[in-house]
Symmetry: D2
Subunit: 144 residues, 4 copies
């Protein structure tokens, strides 16, 4: 698993911890691969709080960020009650799209990495510019 570019490596990442739920396991005795997308979602939800608004408040203000692309590579599985740490950071922000990047850890092991790309739309599914406070606040966070 690559550890990102030098630039990314110097950035500050956001870290959230979760525990594998029983219902998230499958008959292979591992967390089902859809669960990684759920962890990514929790990671970016928590990263976005750093802007001073929750993603729920953004949606209520008419800024929705539906997923238009996702990918993930996994190198090690986890099972029920295993702890995972989700590292989240911004890959890229353009006027209408934002890409989050993620790395999942179980103890010291990076077990997966992935990305999600989102487009900004309003409640009628029309494209909007991403509001300025998002890149500003996140840039502040990542530089610290």
């Amino acid at each position: 698993m690559e550890t990102g570019t030098g630039t990314e490596a110097r950035m500050r990442v956001h870290r959230t911890e979760e525990t594998v739920r029983y219902c998230e396991t499958d008959r292979m005795n591992v967390a089902h691969h859809t669960t990684y997308l759920v962890w990514f979602e929790i990671g970016r939800t928590n990263l976005l709080k750093i802007t001073g608004r929750t993603y729920r408040e953004m949606e209520e203000a008419g800024y929705l960020l539906p997923v238009i692309e996702f990918s993930c590579r996994m190198v090690k599985s986890v099972d029920y009650e295993d702890r995972v740490a989700i590292e989240t950071w911004i890959g890229e922000i353009r006027s209408r799209t934002i890409t989050f990047r993620y790395r999942i850890f179980n103890d010291a092991d990076a077990i997966a990495e992935g990305m999600t790309k989102h487009v900004c739309v309003d409640g009628n599914n029309k494209y909007r510019r991403i509001p300025a406070f998002i890149p500003e606040k996140l840039a502040d966070f990542m530089k610290r």
Copy 2:
């Protein structure tokens, strides 16, 4: 498992078939118990189509039926790729609430039975009377 009262036994029930999905299994190698509620949801969705409107159309017309109570008893588990049949019928309709009853089969075996109770609300979560076409059409169906 009881097979219902004599009255129920004479009623017509709606039948839908589903297959256990991989992601629905857990590390016990069975369909996770939340899946039974999903099957109940599919069963009543399909039963409601008999009214001539889909539940999606009802929601769009401002008649929402959130679940306010559910229960289920299971006597036998099912695993990945097992087929289940969902039998759904109306337990009771009152002015503002409706109770669906369900029985889940794997081949000839009744493996679970349960119920969900719903209250009718509008899009602002205010109580509404259940629209007359629902009990009328469902009564027609069940008598046949």
Copy 3:
């Protein structure tokens, strides 16, 4: 919603907190009703840790506790990013079955209550007696 018998009211309950995940919401803008079963599962998982063994360790030792019955009544919904507290306690322990009871809170409001009943089986799905340390340790906890 009843607050239980006087006996239960004097018992110690286990408390766990969770946050509603985006993926747990549905098009009615509330946590889907299956999520309450997931919270119950998290609640009893954490209560069982009080015995000194995790439920994962119990399964690995050949003591599985599949759900054979569940029920829930909900009086108020929750939405994305709402915090819930899960209170879990033992309803009844018999030689081969155990019943957990739950109450879900959002802030000070009790929003749901329910139960799950489990039977103890081994890895081949044969009935086993519930190991003595479970009722002993849980009785200790609840009395305190």
Copy 4:
């Protein structure tokens, strides 16, 4: 969305249909993006049946195919009760890995495309060669 190379375009694809379940929607009134991975899983499950064995039988014979990579791009969302068709075909088979490719349709519209890559392991998570009948039977199917 690209429609694949000329080579792929001449291949036979496997087609499965599903309906968006209520529980699969989220507060954005669309099928949550994890659902696309579930549809991919159903698609490859059904494609694998063409080999004459179900994936469940393969697992029981000690050939497990955990997901080690997945990706998806979505161009249009779907909502509750929308019908989707899942087209599945083989991207690549190597001695120990297999890549499936997918395209999701809603009516005539291709709404998403993606891939999953799997490694073959035994029940102890040791690498195995993919059994010969899988590429043979699938090659037969895709040529027809």
